[in-house]
């Protein structure tokens, strides 16, 4: 999911505070399809991605587009507003109780060499890997992707060569949101969630993105791994309830000493 966030930030320099809440909506879309229509979560993930793509497009076109030239603070506040709306409409619609999407596949576990692995986690990991690869191909091998990277590098230059920057932004936001939607669908069978989960997911993904480096795909992926490692180490050496402490401390250190992140290009550093 951090991959989606980094795409939005990298291309548009807009910080999406509603990220986690978008993911939660992806989970609810999956849940609805699974519980009402009997669609397996792993099949529903395409639908979740599509729904979030549309949501991202709407948010970008209707709201973000209008504050692109405003101070950074305004964009942060706008997205905070969107986050409040998304989280609490979910609360109104689904109530505060934790939910879980069931998949017949997820129940299974297999032996992978010497380790015992959850099929659900394996699928989530595999698809996340595949999505990152697909995104990379999109950015580096297609015309639209190239335009996106050009816009990220030099908005003015892109304007000069006649890029429809607003359209690029819309697509970036949409694709970013779709990534989160897909991520939501993937973890829906693994983790139970509630509307308030969105906030902690947002914070967690900021962690990952900052640590890995804003706007870097590789960074987002490595950042994700680093955060998990830090949290597991924290859980082993301290107490399980202190595991988040490790990632927040890591975040503070990175913010202070390497604000562009480990793989960032230093433009903001």
């Amino acid at each position: 999911m951090a991959v989606g966030l980094t795409l939005i930030f990298g291309v548009m320099r807009v910080v999406n505070f509603a990220h986690g809440d978008m993911m939660v909506w992806g989970m609810y879309v999956t849940f609805l399809l699974a519980s009402r229509a009997g669609v397996d979560p792993y099949v529903a993930f395409g639908a979740a991605a599509a729904a979030l793509f549309v949501l991202g497009l709407v948010v970008q076109r209707g709201l973000v587009d209008r504050v692109l030239d405003a101070p950074h603070e305004m964009q942060i506040l706008l997205m905070l507003g969107v986050a409040l709306i998304l989280e609490n409409t979910a609360l109104l619609a689904f109530g505060p109780e934790p939910t879980r999407a069931r998949s017949t596949l997820a129940a299974a576990t297999i032996w992978l060499g010497p380790v015992f692995v959850d099929v659900a986690r394996l699928i989530a990991f595999g698809v996340a890997l595949a999505l990152t690869a697909a995104l990379w191909l999109f950015l580096f091998r297609t015309e639209l992707g190239r335009l996106m990277r050009a816009t990220a590098d030099n908005t003015f230059g892109a304007l000069v060569i006649g890029t429809d920057v607003r359209r690029v932004y819309a697509v970036a936001f949409g694709v970013g949101a779709a990534c989160v939607g897909a991520a939501g669908a993937l973890v829906a069978p693994i983790l139970p969630w509630e509307p308030a989960t969105g906030l902690s997911l947002s914070v967690a993904s900021f962690n990952i993105v900052i640590i890995g480096g804003m706007g870097s795909l590789l960074g987002a992926f490595v950042g994700g791994l680093l955060v998990s490692v830090a949290e597991s180490l924290g859980a082993v050496f301290l107490q399980p309830s202190l595991k988040e402490l490790a990632s927040f401390s890591l975040l503070i250190l990175i913010l202070l000493f390497r604000p562009a992140g480990l793989f960032g290009n230093g433009r903001d550093g």
């Binding site: 507003g81 914070v203 900021f206 913010l255 202070l256």
Partner: protein, 338 residues
């Protein structure tokens, strides 16, 4: 660019001589008198709503110093509420120190935390979103730590036994809380009004606009941002004591959590960040809205409805009134005068 900065005269910033706006001063005096007399006629539920309005206006005003005037968007102010509240509660239960003094100690400790966060953030030059994240991260670290310290009640928190003893910051009559909250709000507003007219406040307004230019003009931006952070976190810490002793309980998730930080910043922003009356106006708009939805909750109502409304308001303010409701209102009133 500022919205609608035409060639018209704007006095978002008050003139230096306070006597030049006597009408407004009488108006403010009248408003205070009305608020002082109000509890006599209010129902006990209305008193509760007013307490919350005053209290959130107070917290908003405290945030306003650093977030509004100095333009340093802190989203971790809940940490100061938590530190202040826990300090006063622990001092009261362990050392039998009256919360009236504990409140100052709590404020001081919150100010120390504020100074640490400010020092790191400003010394390392974190701006915009990076500063936001730093403040959030510190608040979260505090929350996780407190949740794991058994002496502080862990994740369950602390409870304060009700004695109704005014010396213990407890009152039989809810109207006493009303007056304390009102006093806090007026105190913070008085502090901000004072700052606004002094060099300190004038500098803060310029730091929000362009720090580099301030430096070139001889302004020690680091020092003034630090001072703003310290004043703001001290006041917020004092507020923590009220919060704890009004609710009789302290929980890490509610006292250090991001949702409280959001509650703190949303009122001054909707009302008008960096203006004296913005936080108060914002609280008078938003707090009753929140209460209304909580009230309907009792009748099988809608959990989270007020937060949706907050979100909509926040989005609307950013899009249509980026300086907040107060400057807009002031303009409309002035136009009518003219």
């Amino acid at each position: 660019m500022p919205n609608g900065a035409g060639s018209r005269l704007v006095s978002g910033h008050p003139p230096i001589a306070p006597a030049s706006r006597p009408a407004l001063q009488y108006l403010a005096l009248a408003a205070v008198l009305v608020l002082l007399a109000l509890p006599a006629v209010l129902t006990s539920y209305a008193v509760t709503v007013f307490i919350l309005i005053f209290f959130y206006a107070f917290l908003g005003q405290a945030w306003n110093v650093v977030g509004g005037y100095a333009g340093q968007l802190s989203m971790g102010h809940a940490a100061f509420v938590g530190v202040g509240g826990y300090t006063a509660a622990m001092l009261s239960s362990e050392l039998h120190l009256t919360p009236w003094l504990g409140m100052l100690v709590g404020g001081a400790l919150a100010a120390v935390l504020g100074a640490v966060i400010g020092y790191l953030g400003f010394r390392f030059g974190l701006r915009g979103f990076y500063f936001v994240l730093l403040t959030v991260a510190f608040a979260e670290v505090c929350r996780i730590l407190v949740s794991n310290i058994d002496a502080l009640g862990g994740a369950i928190g602390l409870y304060i036994t009700f004695t109704g003893d005014p010396r213990q910051f407890q009152f039989q009559d809810a109207r006493a809380y009303y007056y304390v909250a009102l006093a806090l709000m007026l105190l913070a507003t008085g502090v901000v009004a004072l700052l606004e007219r002094r060099r300190f406040g004038i500098y803060l307004g310029a730091i929000r606009e362009d720090e580099g230019a301030c430096e070139a003009l001889g302004v020690d931006t680091f020092k003034y941002k630090m001072l703003a952070m310290i004043v703001s976190s001290f006041l917020t810490g004092v507020g923590g004591t009220f919060y704890a002793f009004y609710l009789f309980s302290l929980q890490p998730n509610s006292m250090f959590g991001i949702p409280l930080s959001v509650e703190i910043i949303i009122r001054p922003i909707v009302g008008g960040a960096g203006t004296l009356l913005g936080p108060i106006l914002g609280s008078f708009i938003l707090t009753p809205l929140g209460e209304l939805s909580r009230l309907s909750l009792g009748h099988g109502g809608y959990h989270g409805l007020h937060l949706v409304a907050y979100g909509v308001l926040l989005v609307a303010v950013v899009l249509f009134l980026p300086q907040g409701a107060y400057p807009y209102l002031a303009r409309v009133l002035r136009r009518r005068d003219a």
